[in-house]
């Protein structure tokens, strides 16, 4: 369980213009998010700041935090990767869980959130996304999952992989997802074991559930 003290400790130095408090069951983070060139300090100060509100469930990182831009600096337009209520589409959550080793709140603030707001600043100035962007809706999610698994972006292939990876131990007698017609045990067993250790079942299950709901 993520505690208020842990959140306070994570933001106090790196993001000193944010403050955290309890709000019902959630931890609420509010204030100015600083986009800084390099760590820890830049001689000319932060590049820019965004006014934000963040709702973090104590079951973070199991549950994705919600981030809102609260001063309407970012036009409310899906092409700016923000919803009408200011809800920021920072990243495809399970992709980050599957590809990053450190899931601490500090790692989220310094990783995806920094890239999101630096990207927003860059888009304001140049009309381009410096780290690329995902297509809206299900296609973007599928693309992100396929990236995380390192496989071709085809919905049926993706679903079959995720079913395999959702098992505590991939079933050797299932057909190999490569399409050779052989069973896994006699085909890409090693590769799948590697993938299984990289994408643990609880993350594969989350991906599968979200994919099937769309």
């Amino acid at each position: 369980m993520l505690s208020l003290d842990a959140v306070k400790a994570a933001i106090a130095f790196d993001q000193p213009k944010l403050s955290a408090r309890l709000d019902g069951a959630n931890i609420l983070i509010e204030g100015s998010y600083l986009v800084v060139e390099g760590a820890p300090a830049a001689a000319s100060g932060p590049i820019t700041e965004f006014a934000i509100r963040m709702e973090v469930n104590p079951r973070y990182p199991h549950l994705e935090p919600k981030v809102f831009e609260v001063e309407s600096r970012i036009p409310r337009n899906p092409d700016r990767h923000i919803n009408g209520d200011g809800d920021c589409c920072v990243t495809v959550w399970e992709h980050w869980l599957a590809t990053s080793a450190d899931h601490s709140i500090a790692s989220f603030l310094n990783g995806p959130l920094n890239e999101y707001f630096l990207g927003q600043f860059w888009f304001e100035k140049t009309g381009k996304w410096p780290f690329g962007e995902r297509p809206h809706g299900a296609p973007g999610m599928e693309e992100a999952y396929a990236d995380a698994l390192g496989i071709a972006n085809r919905r049926d292939v993706l679903i079959y992989h995720l079913r395999l990876l959702s098992q505590a131990w991939p079933k050797g007698h299932w057909a190999c997802p490569c399409g050779s017609g052989k069973i896994i045990r006699h085909c890409h067993r090693k590769d799948l074991m590697g993938l299984h250790s990289r994408i643990p079942p609880h993350i594969a299950k989350k991906m599968l559930r979200r994919l099937m709901a769309n």
Partner: protein, 416 residues
């Protein structure tokens, strides 16, 4: 025309370095203190001295040895120089009381010969007070070598590796304590201490930067000396600078409440644990402030700051009886995180936020800032808006480039 001066600061680190340098004991004071304790050493070892046969030697301990001295908060206060007076004697030669008084008599003779007041007796030390102008006093700790018993105690408690590490435990000493039950008895049961071992541990925590700083020093001074020939006190590492700044911040924050403030040995130990040889003061502060509290141990729910060269000793042992001490540590850490974070993360290098200025000493910081930032810049018209915006764009470009180098973690998306 702009003239660039090497003494002008251009980064947060330049400013912090200048502040820490000003907090340090000035080199002339340092030399003066060294000369004085060498003089005491010579006195104790003179032919007429009753302890001359035991080859008494005086050496520094504590912040003087660690290179983390910070100037007294007010000019009325004094630097406190902690010294060990080590005799090559055994517990067969002295009781604790016998050693304490033999050293005391010679120190008193020294004081008398130099027109100074009699030394004050403390629980473990003799305090020698100099005339007001000297701005320091010396705490002299009588001691005997006692590595064997120290290592034996470590072994008994299961710290096998430490017990056989002569670098960390070979200089351990027996000391006297006038409240100890065996103070007046012929006994081998004396209190133990290991300030040299602690200093060796501390030095190991910053070895890379220490050697690097010494190489740079030799180059600057155009001397061809090896790293080992340059004394430690000639240079400072980011760890030492960060500790000086943190101790100063503590001094200012608890200016009216010295009794319950976080003690230096706790700050120093946790900072040295959290330090990862960062090359800058800003980097050292970030590492230390974000993770120093991860280095508490918990023994049966009790917060424990282990002495790294004697893990059964808890530097935070007073916290159990005096919860206010623990609360003050937590309060201080929170404040220090935010104060240094606001300066380093949210401000330009030449604009120190009010809170940090206050908690490092306002007048003192203002003097430093004024001396270190170009006076002409203050009166200059503001940079035009378009130039500032172009600069922001260049900085963003560099930030993006850096992220591309280390690998971007995410791409924005839209749920619907």
């Amino acid at each position: 025309m702009t003239i660039y001066d090497k003494n002008l600061a251009t980064s947060h680190d330049d400013i912090l370095e200048k502040i820490a340098e000003a907090l340090d004991i000035p080199p002339s004071k340092f030399e003066e203190a060294r000369n004085r304790y060498h003089a005491i050493g010579n006195w104790l070892d003179r032919p007429e001295s009753e302890i001359a046969q035991f080859n008494p030697a005086i050496s520094p301990q504590g912040s003087f040895l660690l290179g983390t001295v910070t100037r007294p908060f007010t000019d009325a206060e004094e630097y406190d120089v902690d010294l060990i007076c080590r005799l090559e004697a055994t517990k067969a030669d002295f009781t604790q009381k016998g050693l304490k008084e033999a050293v005391g008599r010679e120190v008193a003779l020294y004081a008398e010969a130099h027109g100074m007041a009699d030394p004050d007796e403390g629980r473990r030390c003799w305090t020698l007070n100099y005339a007001a102008g000297a701005q320091f006093h010396m705490d002299i700790l009588p001691a005997l070598p006692d590595a064997q018993r120290y290592q034996g105690v470590l072994l008994e408690k299961g710290f096998r590796a430490l017990a056989s590490d002569t670098g960390l435990t070979g200089q351990a000493i027996a000391i006297t304590d006038n409240t100890h039950p065996h103070y007046e008895l012929a006994s081998t049961n004396w209190p133990l201490s290991n300030p040299s071992g602690y200093a060796a541990w501390f030095r190991n925590r910053m070895k890379v930067r220490l050697d690097e700083a010494k190489l740079a020093f030799a180059k600057r001074a155009h001397i061809s000396a090896s790293v080992d020939q340059i004394p430690d006190h000639k240079v400072k590492t980011p760890l030492q600078r960060a500790i000086q700044l943190l101790k100063r911040h503590r001094d200012c924050m608890f200016v009216g409440d010295c009794e319950f403030r976080p003690i230096s040995i706790i700050i120093t130990t946790l900072a040295a644990h959290a330090y990862n040889e960062e090359p800058t003061i800003a980097g050292a502060l970030q590492s230390i402030l974000t993770s120093m509290d991860h280095h508490f141990e918990y023994h049966d729910g009790i917060a424990w700051v282990a002495n790294p060269v004697n893990p059964s000793e808890n530097f935070a042992d007073k916290w159990v009886g005096v919860p206010k001490k623990r609360e003050n540590f937590v309060k201080w850490l929170e404040q220090a995180r935010r104060d240094f974070g606001l300066y380093l993360r949210a401000s330009k290098f030449d604009e120190m936020p009010t809170e940090l200025r206050k908690n490092l000493g306002e007048d003192f910081v203002d003097r430093m800032m004024k001396a270190a930032t170009p006076a002409s810049a203050l009166g200059m018209p503001a940079v035009s808006a378009s130039a500032a915006s172009a600069d922001d764009l260049r900085r963003a470009e560099r930030a993006i480039h850096q992220i591309h180098q280390t690998g971007s973690q995410s791409k924005p998306w839209a749920k619907a």
